[in-house]
């Protein structure tokens, strides 16, 4: 058999010209191009994020002061601080957690551990996933119709919390489901094999193991809804209050809505815009802090449970 100097033969298959530079060259070039494109995309995305943060910080930082954080607004919101809005957002978020965590968790446990495999359950799952796609303003309308009107809670922290909670629910359910499913089957088997009942196993093994994952899900989802305006627009938020809310039936100021109000109403747009940037900065910090909390929790979970 004559082996040509320009081809290498391996079991009858001819590699096109192993020593020829051409093939190698075009392979490397296409890889280089692909890689460059990917890097450019990343840079582009980071640029947007960076400019957003820069823009808000640059514009908002000037109004941030101790007074801004702790005082009530004065003179048609052009002076004083935004403390009631911060407190309001805090209450609303807390309320949303109090409502959606137990409910979401219960749903997730049922769906992962107890539900039989049937079409009906599959439909429920699908519906929960779809709920996550419903526009936030629709939640707002729903909350208004049900909590404010039908239940008669009025425009209040309660109505707003419930609405925000419902909005966070689908995310919390699916995150909890994932966290529960991530608990190794071997833990459950070990527990059952020791003579534990299914419920004991869930209570003592599955939930404690899944807890960090569940909390991460809850925090991320609540963090997401905490910055929403639409759901509280008709259910909880008010343009201006003199002081702090005194019961769960009071209406409140909230940061997102406050920004909205500053930009759409009032008489001194230049000053109000500045304050709006300040509020944005606070809101951004709040949401980022919440996300960071979730990341820390997840890291700790990874460290503790190996894998």
């Amino acid at each position: 058999m004559i082996v040509s100097s320009k081809t290498t033969k391996t079991r009858g298959f001819e590699f096109p010209n192993a020593s020829g530079q051409k093939v190698l060259c075009s392979k490397n070039v296409s890889q280089a191009i692909g890689f460059t494109v990917l890097v450019l995309c990343i840079v582009f995305a980071l640029m947007f994020l960076g400019s957003l943060i820069y823009f808000i910080v640059a514009n908002g930082l000037s109004v941030i002061s101790w007074e801004f954080l702790t005082q009530v607004p004065r003179r048609a919101m052009t002076q004083g601080g935004v403390a009631p809005a911060i407190v309001g957002t805090f209450y609303l978020t807390l309320g949303a957690i109090a409502f959606s965590l137990p409910l979401g968790l219960a749903c997730a446990i049922y769906l992962t551990e107890y539900s039989p495999k049937s079409i009906a359950v599959n439909i429920i799952r699908l519906s929960i996933n779809n709920l996550a796609g419903v526009p936030s303003i629709v939640y707002g309308l729903f909350g208004f119709a049900v909590f404010v009107k039908v239940f008669g809670f009025g425009v209040s922290i309660l109505s707003g919390s419930l609405t925000l909670g419902i909005m966070a629910l689908p995310g919390i359910i699916s995150a909890s489901q994932e966290a529960i499913l991530a608990v190794p089957q071997s833990y459950k088997e070990a527990s059952l094999a020791l003579g534990a009942t299914h419920w004991q196993t869930i209570k003592k093994i599955v939930l404690p193991t899944a807890l960090p994952g569940i909390l991460t899900g809850v925090i991320l989802n609540v963090g997401r809804v905490a910055g929403e305006t639409a759901p509280i627009l008709f259910t909880a938020a008010t343009f201006y209050t003199r002081g702090y809310p005194d019961s769960i039936f009071s209406e409140v100021m909230a940061l997102p809505y406050h920004i909205y109000a500053l930009m759409t109403e009032g008489t001194r747009p230049e000053v109000q815009t500045q304050i709006a940037y300040g509020c944005s900065l606070i809101l951004l910090c709040l949401v980022l802090t919440i996300s960071a909390l979730a990341i820390i929790l997840r890291q700790r979970q990874r460290r503790e449970y190996g894998s």
Binding site: Y187, E189, L192, G195, A196
Partner: protein, 253 residues
């Protein structure tokens, strides 16, 4: 020596959905003996021992037919208390699976879920089971450390201790050394030989040599059927069935 039948299996058929995984298994497992189940992958040996503590109940499509008795009591009877059965028939799994809790909590878990609240009693039992599983000296100073910090072999011995804490009568080992190094494997084997004095032991293993080393009786299974069951000595030197001979000499499996 008097042999007392602890587990009696008569015409056991087992199905996963429509697939038959066990065919007419007739097997007697004797008290205070180590019985090994060997055979190539998919022969049904794991399926069989998971019947003994009804772990197969977890699989929705599973179905059993035939009689399976422990101490003469049918365990597939609807009246059987599965939770109590599982306490009496402990199980050690293929991969060490301690809970992500402290060593102490791992051992106390079985007692707590069985309703024992007496702290002193739990403490005593924890220590006893650690001693029985030859782990006490290695962990006595760090009972409250996370169990996942232990080495693989120690984790597996912890799982054995966890199982001993609830005082089972039978211990099922499902390939307990599959993920362990030779030295840890040896320790587990020694432990099994020690434990057979008090417990009836059934061990599933891929490793024929392990079966030869630790067991008194060996059952060879092949595609859902029990091919041969005899004293380990006999199975490994003069098997009666050609299939057993071929498997032992590495012709398949």
């Amino acid at each position: 020596m008097d042999l007392e039948v602890k587990i009696r299996s008569r015409n056991i058929d087992f199905y996963y959905g429509k697939t038959q995984a066990l065919k007419k298994i007739n097997l007697d497992i004797y008290s205070n003996m180590v019985t090994a189940l060997i055979g190539p992958s998919g022969c049904g040996k794991s399926t069989f021992i998971r019947l003994l503590n009804r772990m197969n109940d977890l699989i929705a499509s599973a179905r059993v037919e035939g009689n399976l008795m422990i101490d003469g009591v049918e365990i597939n009877d609807p009246k059987t208390d599965v939770v109590d059965l599982r306490r009496r028939v402990g199980m050690v799994f293929q991969k060490p699976n301690p809970f992500p809790k402290s060593i102490y909590e791992n051992l106390a878990y079985g007692l707590v879920i069985n309703g024992i609240k007496d702290k002193k009693f739990i403490e005593m039992r924890v220590r006893e089971s650690l001693e029985k599983s030859a782990l006490y000296d290695e962990v006595k100073d760090r009972l409250h450390d996370n169990a996942l910090m232990l080495s693989g072999g120690q984790q597996q011995r912890l799982c054995i201790a966890r199982c001993l804490a609830v005082e089972p009568e039978i211990i099922l080992f499902d390939e307990p050394c599959a993920s362990l190094d030779p030295i840890s494997t040896r320790k587990i084997e020694e432990l099994i030989l020690e434990l057979k004095k008090e417990y009836t032991i059934v061990i599933v293993t891929h490793n024929m040599q392990q079966a030869a080393r630790v067991s008194d009786y060996t059952a060879f299974m092949y595609i859902g059927e029990l091919i041969e069951f005899d004293l380990t000595e006999k199975i490994f030197t003069v098997p009666k069935e050609k299939l057993t001979e071929e498997y032992l000499s590495g012709k398949f499996g």
